[in-house]
Each structure stands twice: as structure tokens, then as C-alpha cells.
């Protein structure tokens, strides 16, 4: 092995991510082709005349073979052209761009709060393993991971918006709002997303650190009479980075997906709302486009986690 092999592995992982994304796009496309009828049928309903159906199919290009349609869709997507929505004819890429921004704003805010909080809580429960702080944290997080996102949303809304009226119950957001106003508007959905992801992330962080703390080299450090802080910072953390980054990335990916439901609860104009609306309208091009974007984010996060794990592995960083 030489120094090039680490770069090689990283490049391999990136290539794998791209292949996976390509395959996922095919899967998403295929997923919308397996229905007994087709899009034209679902737009016009069961009572449509065969002539009307044929016209619409020609208009939508549905008379082409599936493979041709997939490649032209893919070629468009690669150039940033995601087609037009069936329901209102608008350009999907344009409608999606500011919604994607809104979603990333919400998810990002939640992540900025949740990640450090989860890591701290994870460390605290490791530090006090088996004692009351650990038990309290474990109990509360078990409760939050057992409740679906929309339930947490309504509980938060019921308590904080209706009973105590601290935050608005609907998260309207538009251009020209100051950052403070925007943050105020997304306070509740962000809180809910923090709660949703915190439990998973904290539990996984705890498990990852405990796993490292049980290693023989931690015992060696203890038998060296090092301070607990030194043991954790010098001997545990360098080896816990990869598993912790993995946990964070998994949960960020989860966060981006969890946003779908939370946006619907708080009527927040983001990607999730957009996707769900168009699933009900059976607007296939929009659904495909949204699915592709979500899959890209998800695959990207997992790829970053893998790459960090590669980079953090001393065996690969310092080959023999």
C-alpha cells in the first residue's frame, strides 16, 4: 500500500456514490412506471375517452418507450432541467429552487442546534453511565423516538403556540423577512426536528463512545494514571471521530427526510410540502424530481460519512 491508495479509496467511494445516484435515478423512474394505468389515465380519470387519453399521452411523450423517456429525463436533469409540472405547467427547477433553500434553512437550523446538543448529551450519559443523568436522558430520548414526527409537531403546537402562545403555529416565510423574523417563524418546526433527531443521534453517539471506551487501549490509559479528561480527549476521541461522524451524517440524512412531515404540519413552504402536494395530485414529474433531490442529499451524506471514516483510519493514513 502507498500514500496514493488512500486517495484511491476516496475516489473509489465518490465514484460508488455517483453510480449509486445514477442507479437510484433509474429506480425512481422505474418506480413511477409500474402502475397498471399511466399518468394520462390518472390525470383524466377513469371516464376519459380513448382519444383524449391518446392525445395527452402524445403531449407528455408517453408514447415513447420507457428507456427513451428515462434517458431524456436524465439528460435534462443533468443540465438542471427537471421538466414542467403536470398540474400547473410551471418549470419544476424554478419552483423547487427557493423551496429547497427554505428546506435547507430549516434543516440547517435544526442541525446546528441538534448536533452539538446530541454530542454533549451523549458524552454526559457516557460520563454518568448507569447513573441518573444517563437514565433520564435515555428515558426522554426513548419517548421522543417512539413518537412520529407529526405527533411531536402537534404536541409542540398545542403547548407552545396554542396554550402559551410563544411561537406562531403556522410557519409562513417569505422574501424580505429579517433573519430574526425568519428564525421566529421556524422556531416550532426546528424544535420538533431537533427533538426527532436528537434521540437517535444521542443514543448512537453514546453507543459509539461506549464502544471505544471498552477498548483495551483505554484500560492502558487508565493504568497509566491519566486524568479522565486526558483519556477521553487524547485516547478515546481520535478513535471515536469516525463512528461519531457516521452517526451525525446518518442523522442529518434522516433530518432531511423527516423534514417532509414537519413541513406539512407547519405549512412551511419547503421541498417536503411540495413533494406531498404533488403526490396527492399525482404529478409524476414533480415527484420524480423531488425524489431525485432527496436521494442525492441522502446518498451524499452517506458518502461523506464513509469518506471521513476512511480518512480517520490510521491504518490507511499511515500505511505500512
Amino acid at each position: 500500500m502507498n500514500a496514493g491508495s488512500l486517495l484511491g479509496l476516496v475516489a473509489q467511494r465518490i465514484a460508488l456514490g455517483l453510480v449509486l445516484l445514477l442507479a437510484a435515478s433509474a429506480l425512481i423512474f422505474a418506480g413511477t412506471q409500474i402502475l397498471p394505468g399511466d399518468v394520462a389515465q390518472s390525470i383524466l380519470g377513469q371516464s376519459a375517452t380513448p382519444q383524449a387519453l391518446a392525445n395527452l399521452r402524445a403531449e407528455l411523450g408517453l408514447d415513447q418507450p420507457a428507456l427513451t423517456r428515462y434517458f431524456s429525463w436524465l439528460a435534462g436533469a443533468l443540465q438542471g432541467d427537471l421538466g414542467n409540472a403536470l398540474s400547473n405547467g410551471q418549470d419544476i427547477a424554478t419552483s423547487m429552487s427557493h423551496r429547497l433553500g427554505n428546506t435547507l434553512f430549516l434543516a440547517g437550523t435544526a442541525a446546528i442546534i441538534a448536533v452539538p446538543l446530541a454530542l454533549i448529551l451523549g458524552l454526559v450519559s457516557v460520563r454518568y453511565q448507569g447513573r441518573w443523568p444517563d437514565k433520564v436522558i435515555s428515558g426522554v430520548t426513548l419517548a421522543t423516538v417512539s413518537v412520529p414526527e407529526f405527533m411531536l409537531g402537534y404536541i409542540a403546537m398545542f403547548l407552545l403556540a396554542v396554550q402559551f402562545q410563544v411561537f406562531p403555529s403556522v410557519s409562513t416565510i417569505y422574501d424580505g423577512m429579517s433573519l430574526g423574523e425568519q428564525l421566529q417563524a421556524i422556531a416550532l418546526p426546528a424544535l420538533v426536528m431537533v427533538l426527532v433527531v436528537l434521540g437517535h443521534m444521542m443514543r448512537m453517539t453514546r453507543a459509539a463512545i461506549l464502544n471505544v471506551m471498552q477498548s483495551a487501549y483505554i484500560e492502558t490509559a487508565e493504568l497509566k494514571g491519566l486524568r479522565r479528561f486526558t483519556i477521553i480527549s487524547r485516547h478515546a476521541l481520535p478513535n471515536a471521530i469516525a463512528p461519531i461522524v457516521n452517526v451525525v451524517m446518518l442523522n442529518l440524512a434522516y433530518l432531511v427526510v423527516g423534514v417532509v412531515v414537519v413541513e406539512v404540519v407547519f405549512v412551511y413552504p419547503g421541498m417536503g410540502q411540495y413533494l406531498v402536494d404533488h403526490v396527492s395530485k399525482r404529478d409524476v414529474p414533480v415527484v420524480q424530481a423531488c425524489g431525485l433531490v432527496f436521494a442525492a442529499v441522502y446518498i451524499g451524506m452517506n458518502m461523506i460519512a464513509d469518506i471521513v471514516a476512511l480518512l480517520a483510519n490510521p491504518r490507511l493514513r499511515h500505511p505500512k
Binding site: L27, G31, I34, S146, F158, V261, V265
Partner: protein, 271 residues
């Protein structure tokens, strides 16, 4: 000889209660599911223990019937996920080679798209009937079961006692059913509990988004959707299913934890 800890006992008790309520719904629920029996959003009263819903139906009856639908869908989807996932997972582990490669890569691909998004993509073109919901949820979740059962089976496959059976001349069927399955049962049963919870959350989320169980049927997620507008007037009807889902989820979790702990202590060896 084995003592059940209190937490697991409580979990078992509540889980059993939920399942009984689901099975006995026709006899337990005081009113019909779709029967309008009062005003909109009546408060709790002796005639309507949990009050009434957005169009005046008895909420307790709807909760019981809704639980029946939720649990039915979740159980069926879990069964499908396990049937597919365990059979293919064990097959991949025991057969190895290209069978394993093909199945594993396919599962990698399916798992590269988040479950909810994948379900939404498919449901955007499929009619949302119960059988289709169950199939879609079951197949999407079978990927997780596949990974677990493959991993568990591979762990067991490399054990010397499996090799000893192979050297004896036993066939794959014996090895899977007699050597691997009995040793994989505990983690799989615990996983079944967790998958079941996930299915409950999954179907509730879909129904809440209006893409799951369709009226006139209703499940817990649907009840939230119908009553969500009450929240802003301070009417907690939409929160009741939340309590039900959370209680069920925590109960099953406690049981699953207990099963897992029992397994790991069995592995503890010398003690």
C-alpha cells in the same frame, strides 16, 4: 426460572391490551366507526369518554377501530418484510457468491433512497388501497430485515458447528433450519418488534399526509389529519392518537429490548 423484569412485563401487558382491543373492536367500541352521534368536537363526557371528532363521531370508537386498522396494516407489512427479508437474507448468507452479490447490491440500491420518499414516489402512481400499502411498506422495509438476517446468518455460518454439519454432509435446508435459525431467532424476534413499531409510524405518517389509509376507513394517522384543525382552537382530539402510538411503540420497544438483552447474556459464556 427466567424472571421477567418489570419494564418488560409492563411492555407485554400494554402490547397485549392494544392487540386485544384491535381484535375485539366490534364488541368493545361503544358506537359505530362512521356513526355521527353528537356535535363537532364535544368535550369528554360520560356518553363520549374521549369526546367527539371533527364531524361529531365518537372518538373512542374511532380510536379503537383506527387502532385495528393501524395494527392490522403494520402486522401484515411486518410479516411481508420478514418473509421476504429473512428468506432472501439467509439465502444470500448460505449460498454466497453471485446470489449474495446480486441481492446485496439490489438492497444497497433500494436503501440509498429514504424509505418515506421511496414510498411516496411509488404511491404517486399506485392506487392507495390497503393491499398495495401493505405490499409497498413491506417490500421497502424488507431491505432492512434482509441486511440484519444476512449479517446474523453470516455470523453463525462461520461457526465451527456449521462447518461440522457441512462436513457431516448435511444439506442447506438442514443447515438453515436446524443450525442457523434457532440461533438467529432472538435477534430476529427483537427486530420484528422494532420493525412493527416502524410500520406503525410509517402507516400513520402516510395516512397523516393523506396518502395512506383512505376514508371511509381510518387509522390513527388519519384521525390526526381529520382533527388537526382543532389544535389551534385548543382542542386536543388530534393528540389522542399520538398517545396511543407512543404507548404502543414504547411497550413493544421494552419487550424487544428485553429479548435482545436475554440473547446477549446467553452469549456471555462463562458468566
Amino acid at each position: 426460572m427466567t424472571r421477567i423484569p418489570i419494564s418488560a412485563l409492563l411492555g407485554l401487558l400494554f402490547t397485549a391490551a392494544f392487540f386485544l382491543a384491535a381484535i375485539l373492536a366490534p364488541w368493545l367500541s361503544p358506537y359505530g366507526m362512521a356513526e355521527v352521534v353528537g356535535d363537532v368536537w364535544e368535550p369528554m363526557s360520560p356518553t363520549h369518554w374521549l369526546g367527539t371528532d371533527s364531524i361529531g363521531r365518537d372518538l373512542l370508537s374511532r380510536m379503537i377501530w383506527g387502532g385495528r386498522v393501524t395494527i392490522f396494516v403494520a402486522v401484515c407489512a411486518t410479516l411481508i418484510a420478514f418473509l421476504t427479508g429473512v428468506v432472501l437474507g439467509f439465502l444470500a448468507a448460505v449460498a454466497g457468491g453471485w446470489v449474495d452479490q446480486a441481492l446485496s447490491r439490489l438492497v444497497d440500491l433500494m436503501m440509498s433512497i429514504p424509505a418515506l420518499i421511496f414510498a411516496l414516489v411509488i404511491l404517486s402512481v399506485m392506487p392507495t388501497t390497503l393491499p398495495i400499502l401493505i405490499m409497498v411498506m413491506g417490500l421497502i422495509e424488507s431491505t432492512r430485515v434482509f441486511r440484519l438476517s444476512r449479517a446474523v446468518a453470516i455470523d453463525i455460518e462461520v461457526m465451527d458447528y456449521v462447518e461440522a454439519a457441512r462436513l457431516r454432509g448435511e444439506g442447506n435446508l438442514w443447515i438453515i433450519t436446524r443450525e442457523i435459525l434457532p440461533n438467529a431467532l432472538s435477534p430476529l424476534v427483537a427486530e420484528a418488534g422494532l420493525r412493527f413499531i416502524f410500520m406503525v409510524l410509517f402507516i400513520s405518517t402516510l395516512s397523516f399526509l393523506g396518502l395512506g389509509v383512505q376514508p371511509p376507513l381510518a387509522d390513527w394517522g388519519g384521525i390526526v389529519k381529520e382533527n388537526k384543525d382543532g389544535i389551534v382552537y385548543g382542542i386536543p382530539a388530534a393528540l389522542l392518537p399520538a398517545v396511543a402510538i407512543a404507548t404502543l411503540a414504547i411497550s413493544v420497544n421494552l419487550v424487544a429490548d428485553w429479548i435482545l438483552n436475554r440473547t446477549s447474556s446467553l452469549k456471555g459464556g462463562r458468566g
